[in-house]
């Protein structure tokens, strides 16, 4: 068999550089125009990707997403002595919170996920502070503000009400910076 037959007599050119399938002149170059196109495309991606956030915000503004916090019983007044704390979950089942009885008629409740890295914060009666064991963060029980350690933001406060010998959670205060 001879070599010419192997080419089937149909290969119309000397195939030596494997680039015959590149037709456009500048196909192998990223020219300025192509780069500009990519940039415009990126701007488009940004635009599209903010749409869901806008939608969610609009929903929230129109009141659909209004997570009306349910009223939830935390504990009986009898069961909680002054200076003690009890853990509960509010508003969801996976959001733990802490109720502290600071005085005869003074209750404070906070969502107790540390504002640093979400470790659970606990109430230390000896130190009269909320303590985060993870990196020694401390919070003021009166306001929820951080007093020492890495946390910089206050714990979100849960609004409580006393009614007929029981303590109820009725809402979460808006997060303020």
């Amino acid at each position: 068999m001879d070599n010419e037959a192997g080419k089937n007599n149909k290969v119309p050119f000397e195939e030596d550089n494997y680039t015959h399938n590149i037709h456009k002149n500048n196909e192998r170059q990223l020219d300025r125009r192509g780069f500009l196109k990519t940039m415009v495309g990126a701007a488009g991606v940004f635009a599209v990707s903010t749409l869901p956030w806008g939608g969610l915000a609009a929903k929230e503004l129109m009141g659909f997403g209004q997570s009306s916090h349910p009223k939830k019983k935390i504990a009986d007044v009898q069961a909680l002595k002054v200076g003690e704390a009890v853990e509960f979950h509010y508003p969801g089942d996976h959001e733990s919170a802490l109720l502290i009885r600071l005085g005869d008629n003074k209750y404070k409740a906070y969502q107790n996920a540390c504002t640093h890295l979400k470790c659970p914060v606990f109430w230390s009666r000896e130190e009269d502070q909320l303590v985060c064991p993870c990196h020694h963060g401390f919070f003021d029980p009166q306001s929820g503000k951080p007093t020492a350690g890495p946390p910089r933001r206050a714990l979100p406060e849960v609004v409580v009400e006393i009614e007929g010998g029981a303590i109820y959670a009725t809402g979460v205060k808006r997060y303020e910076t």
Partner: protein, 61 residues
Amino acid sequence: MKRSYRGVILLSVVLFLNIVCTQYVVNHYFHEKYELVLVFALLNVLLFPLALWIYKKEVRR
């Protein structure tokens, strides 16, 4: 052909503003300032036609 980086620079600015706006959108969302979320989301969307306009102008030159 004279070399011009104007389009590239302008579009870089647009993309930078995109990043800034996106960042603000997310942050304001978590801070529950929903009006501001809408403002920045709108800005971000408006930047796209602007980018397109810059591109068209640059190509025509």
